[in-house]
Every structure is written in C-alpha cells, then in structure tokens.
Amino acid sequence: MPTAPSSHSGNAGQPLRNFRILDLSRIWAGPYCTKLLADMGAEVIKMESLSVYDSHRGPVNPAPGIVSYPDADPGEQPWNRNGWFNCLHMSKYGITLELTGESGRRVFNELVSISDVLVENFRQGSLERLGYSYQELRQLRPDLIYVSMPAFGNGGPWQKYVAYGIGQEQLSGMAHMTGYRGEGPMKSGINHGDPITGSHAAGVLLAALRRRRRTGEGMFIDVSQQESAVALIGGEVLAYQMTGVEPERRGNRSPWFAPHNSYQCAGEDRWVTIAVTSDEEWLRLAEILGGSELAADAQYATVSDRMEHQDTLDALIGAWTADKDAREVCEQLQAAGIPSSPVMGGPDLLADDHYAARGTFVEVDHPQVGPKMYPGPAWKMSATPGRVRWPSPTLGQHNRLIYSELLGMPLDSIAALEEGGVIGVKPTGSRII
C-alpha cells in the first residue's frame, strides 16, 4: 500500500483501510459510493482518461460566469479547480490511464489484480467492449467484487439507454409526487438518483466484501440506478395498488399532518417550515398563535378537522410569521415542542452553530484552490471515526505514487508511459454534459 500523500498518514480510526477499490466511476453516483468508503479509510484509486476525464471536472475551456470555481475564476487548470469534482474525491488517489493501447492495458491488468473491488458507472457494456467483462476481470483477480452501475442495470430492453441522476427522479416516480398543488411535477434542486444509488452500492459491496472473507468468493454486483431510486418510493407503489389512487402533488402539505407547510418570514426569501404532528402540538401552537381561545376552538381539535381547514390555518400562521425572523420563530416553537426549522441556504449552513459544533463541514486546503469548506464524512463513529485525509486529487496527481510505489514499476517505464500519452496530468480533451 502506498504512503498517504499528506502528513495525515496514520491508519487509526480508518476501519476500511485494508480494502483497495479501483474506481472507474464518473460524475456523481459512483463517486458518492466511493466517497463514503474513502471517508472510512478505504484505499480508493480513482482512474481517469486524459481524453475523457470525469466530466465533473468541467470543461478544459469553460465559458465565462461558471461559479463552481474559486472566486468564479477557472484559472489555468480549470479541471483541477472545480468544486463539483473536488467535493466528491477527497481522500482518494487520482491516476490517469488510457485503456486503448497495449501498454495501458498491461498496467490496468496489474491494477485489477491487486484490487478488491472495481466500481464503474459507464454506459452498459462499455468496459466489456474494451475486453473487460466480469469473466475476463475474474481471470485477473479471481475474488474480485465488480460493481457495475449503469442507468438501467445490466439486462433488460433499456440496458443501453442512458440517464443521469436528475432523470432517475423522473423515471422512479419521485418527480410525479413532487410539486406545487394543482401544478405539474417538479425536479429537486439536486439529482437525488445519484447519491441514492451510490449509497445503495456502497452498502451492498461492503456486505459482499464481508461475505468474501468467509467464502473466498468474489461477485458481480449489478446496480440499476433506476431500481435504486424506485426503492425509495416503495410505499407509494404499494399504496397505489391498495387504493387505485395515484399520489397527489401537495406542495408542502402532508397526507398525515396539518397544519404542515412553509411560511414566509421577514427578509428576502426567508421561510420557516412548521409541522404539527399531534393534537398536543396543535394546542401548544394555537396558544402561541391565538391564545386559549384558538386552542379551545373545537373546529381544529383533530387532525381531520385541521386538514379540512388547512387554508385558514395556513393563512393564520403565515400572518403570524410574516414579520418575524425565521430562526426566532423556530426557537419559540421548539421551546413549545413544535417541529419547525428555518429553510437554510448555503450561507446559513456554513454559518450555523449546530453544524459547526458537530464538524458537519470541514475545511480542506486544496493546492490549486486554497482552504475551503466541504461536507465531511456522512456519519460519526465513536471508535473509528474516519476523516478527510487529503484534498481531491488533481488530474493524474498520484500517477507516480501508484505506479512506482504500489505497482513497483521502474521510473523509466513510467516516463515511457508519460511520453506515449498513456498517463499524464494534462488533459487532451473533455466531454462535458
């Protein structure tokens, strides 16, 4: 195993340190899978091509005005300065390798032979066309766990189709049940399909690794991004069969609770969310809104009553919050035990006392970016906390470390690969979606 490329080389608290993941995945679903593993100490080797690097690095020559670069300045090497990429590859090793020629394939064969897991989310069949089907990969590493995560899985009439995380919100049914009342479906602000698939894959591949220790057997794990996303709305699939009724777009209202909505507060685009989940909570909210008279009003006593009078109640609450600070509203409601939260944006999150106290966001100093805040590990473990060990790699940053120290290649062989364009640090092209 190579030495960690930073001063943080200790292995304490890194529960997955004995697993090596060869990561050919791009964009978000695959990288989120391997991010969760890298946060916990797995040795993740992120492999890219100089001609088709991970499109999250952005274009070689970006159009003006893209603000995912530090201070909106792409700099001389924009592919190393993009926040999209840099938030998903911390604690991973970054190498480049072209698989089109024989010398590159020889190196790749060696990498596969020493890896526990290979993860890819190419269009279905792409790796097989290069001569690397699961059967062929098993020749190189008999107990390999091969995680293949194309949009629609390996098999079925749509297997060659393509889709991104945003599309999986639509094809999974998530978008169908999301939207303002009486209006059409609405996409989320992110692409839920991606992290959902990545997290699914991470859990199952760990279960497969654990099983491999007992049986010595590897496994081909077929991940359909679409099926991973449908799994998160499963209750609605059953509900439809039970009732014959499609889920309704309810805006910010709930099928179970009332009142339950977002309410505008003082300031520009400031909102608070309030959810009354029991009769007791309603009585306490009613006391705050309108004193004992409102609390005693029988027409709002049960959840069915409050459902029926939601328009009235929402207007009442909205009038009360309109001139108030969102955070202060929540402090008051929480003191009365009423579920509520401000709607928080980027500035709120990074300034927030709670997230600061928990270290939710961590500062990482990237050599081409400087110190910036990033989301840290997704959970906290008391004995083996994991941590961000180093910033996301620049393109090909760890070529020499991996090829020399891990594979034991002589330096002149590495130089020959560089001269032949098989490995390197300067992109020869980019394909950006």
Partner: protein, 425 residues
C-alpha cells in the same frame, strides 16, 4: 431471487448469520433495517406491546372506506386493519420479525439485554437521550456486549445545540439545505413528495452499519454510530454547497430548468410529462432532428451557455412537438439518438414499465390483510448469487414474540405466559 413466506425455511442471504435488534420506527431506521433484513440478517423488530411502530397506523390503507388520516370518519377500522394495513409500514418492514416488549419494565429490559448478548447490531431512532433514561444507553449496552455495533439515527445527531429540536421530514429537508433550492424562484421552496431525507439517511446508516460490522469482526471492538438525517441532506448538496463555498454565490431555485442550464428538466407532453436533457453539446443537433424543428439547430443554441441565454426561445420551439407526442415515445426518441431523455413515471407506469418487468424487479408478496401486492424488489442484484435477497411480508404486531423468546433465548412456556400476563410482551 428467493421469495418465501414467513413460515418457510430460512433462505441464505449475504448477511446470513448476522443478528440485528431493531428499535426503530417511522421511516429512517426501518429502511436501514429493511436493507439488513432483505440481505439475510435476522432483524428482530422490538415494538411496544399493543401499540407497535406508529407507522402501522399511517395510511393509505387498503380500503377506500377508511379515511387517509386514520381518524374516526366513516366506519371504524377493525383492529387488524388499523395495525397491519399501512402501505409504508408494509414496505419498510419486509423480512423482519416482530417482538413486543415493554422497555420500561425491568423484565423487558432484561429480555432486550439477553437479545443483545447474541446480536451484532442494534439500530435505534429514538430522540437523543431516550434510551439513556431507560438505562439502555450505549455505555450500559456495551457492558452487555463489547463488540455491539449500535446505530442511532436522529434528526440532528447526538450532539450540538439543535440536538433536541423536533422535526418532521419537511423540517429536515429545510434544515439540510435541499428545500431552499427546490421549486420556482418566485414561489415558496418545496419539499419532495417522498420522505427522501429520512430514507436516504436510513440507507446511509445501512452503509455505516456495514462499516461498523466489518470493524467489529476485525477487532472485536464495537462502537456507537451517530447518523443525523439533516446532516445526510447537507452531505448530498454537491454543487449547491460548493458553489457558495468556492465563489460566495448562492445557489437559487430554478424551477424545472437545470441550474445554469436550459432544456434540462421536466416539460409537458401529450399524455403527461417528460424529462428533456439537452446535453452533451455534441448531441444537441439531434434534438432539432427529433423534434422536426430546424430552428433548434440555430448556432445560437449550440452550446450550453447559448441555450441558457435563449432559454425561453428554446422552450417555445420544443413545446409544439412535445405536446403532440406521448411520454414513452418522447423518451424513446431521445434514447434512440443517444440523448438521456426520460419521462415522469406514475405508479401505474412503474408497475407496467417494460424494463422493470423484464428484470423481474417487482416481487409479489402475500399478506393476510392486503392480499398479494407487487413490492419493489432488490435495488441491487448480485448476478452470481441468486439468493442474495430475502423477501417476506412485514410481520404482524408481535407475530414472532413466542418464537424468539423460545428459540433464541430459551424461555419456557410458563415464563412467556408470565411475561404476557404482566404486559411485558
């Protein structure tokens, strides 16, 4: 794939031999333990006697006569319908066993300790401090089983100034930054229809459980894992967070257009809605061909930036063709030209979707109250392991109480009767 009824032989899954005690309810914890159970772990869901997971009483229910709110309108629900008929409960608790136990009683605590002595995993999603007050906090439980992996899923985590804040899904989606960026810029921020913060956090908790289990088996050392639902939301903000962190510019709501993009979202069509994805740039000319509008090949629209500047014009040129075609045809027209078009699937669409049916995605599971239903099945399929996933219907309240006490803990019939008489089980 193995499908079996609750009383048939125990199939072997990836996690065969792993035992997990499940003190969870509602969405987040049950989804974590559902994944453990369908991978073959024995998951013992501990529920309050006579009450159970409150999710059992959340509709929709099978009978249209029953009001969604589960209240007193219409006819009264029979006991069985009330407890065993909620769609989300049935989905989130497949393949588990149900044991009723009063955790406030000394005997109930003793049963729990005995179960934990022979279990590797405990998953719970009570508010922080609830188990500590019962004398069942991590420090006490570690004394029972030093290699126990205990996973606590809460709104805001076990520490921090907002640790005790109450929250429903909408509050967590808001506090995690996802709601602020969803919806139209001039309207209110919008939550998802499905409880994606809780379910996503539950799924991440499943990953964390696997990490903890691997470490415990390596070292004999157990630990306490702290999963916050709001933190899960912050963890998946991706560029919505990074853009602000990097350049100080806040990510805003853009409705159904992709952020900084055009022709990158949901559009109406003849029989519903479709997803139009205009990239990558080199594929854009195909859109003009598909939609039979030469104007769309205008060089002004050739780049992502150009389309963004002329977004309204691009929309106006696409809409006539879209409104004249059905969603599946739009989807396939794009896909056949290498474009990642999609359509907005309804529940009916999903159940009939040729890709899902060809892959045997749905699993029919029978249930005494609902009858047979098609359940979304394995999210992941290990091809070389046909029996990797285990499907059984969700348990009735307390269905496995006697079996677990007898078979797992060696209780006698008399002891079980005594516990039942005292209301412990």
């Amino acid at each position: 794939m193995t499908i079996s009824g609750p009383n048939s032989g125990e199939p072997m899954g990836l996690l065969d031999g792993v035992r997990a005690v499940d003190l969870t309810h509602y969405f987040s914890g049950p989804y974590c333990t559902k994944l453990l159970a369908t991978l073959g772990a024995e998951v013992i869901k501990v529920e309050r006697p006579g009450v159970g997971d409150p999710m059992r009483r959340f509709g929709p229910f099978a009978s249209a006569l029953i009001p969604e709110t589960g209240g007193d309108q219409g006819r009264r629900l029979t006991h069985e319908e009330r407890e065993e008929n909620g769609a989300w409960f049935l989905y989130l608790n497949t393949s588990k066993k149900s044991l009723t136990l009063d955790l406030k009683s000394a005997d109930g605590k003793q049963v729990l300790r005995e179960l934990l002595g022979s279990s590797q995993i405990l998953v719970e999603n009570f508010a922080p401090g609830v188990l500590d007050k019962l004398g069942l906090g991590y420090d006490e439980l570690r004394a029972v089983n030093p290699s126990l992996v205990m996973i606590s899923i809460t709104n805001y985590g076990q520490t921090g100034p907002r640790r005790d804040w109450k929250a429903a899904e909408i509050n967590l989606y808001a506090a995690g930054g996802l709601m602020n960026i969803t919806g139209e810029p001039e309207e209110e921020p919008l939550k998802e229809g499905a409880p994606l913060s809780q379910l996503g956090a539950g799924q991440n908790a499943f990953v964390a459980t696997m990490v903890g289990l691997i470490h415990a088996e390596d070292s004999g050392e157990g630990q306490h894992i702290d999963v916050s639902i709001a933190e899960y939301a912050t963890n998946i903000l991706e560029n919505a967070m990074m853009q602000y962190s990097y350049s100080g510019q806040e990510y805003t709501r853009v409705g159904n257009r992709g952020y900084g993009r055009a022709a990158w979202g949901i559009y109406p069509c003849r029989d519903g809605y479709v997803g139009i994805i205009a990239g990558p740039d080199q594929r854009w000319p195909e859109v003009a061909n598909i939609m039979e509008r030469e104007e769309l090949a205008d060089p002004r629209f050739a780049s992502r930036y150009g389309r963004l500047v002329h977004a309204d014009e691009v929309d106006a040129l696409m809409l006539p063709w879209l409104l004249d075609h059905d969603k599946v045809d739009v989807f396939k027209a794009g896909q056949e030209h290498g474009l990642a078009f999609t359509y907005v699937a309804t529940m009916e669409d999903l159940l009939e979707m040729e890709q899902l049916t060809a892959r045997d995605y749905f699993v029919e599971i029978d249930h005494p109250v609902t009858g047979p239903l098609q359940y979304p099945g394995r999210p992941i399929s290990p091809h070389s392991r046909s029996d990797a996933w285990v499907y059984r219907r969700a348990p009735l309240l307390g269905e496995h109480t006697d079996q677990i006490l007898e078979d797992r803990l060696g209780y006698s019939t008399d002891q079980i009767s005594r516990l039942r008489d005292q209301g412990v089980i």
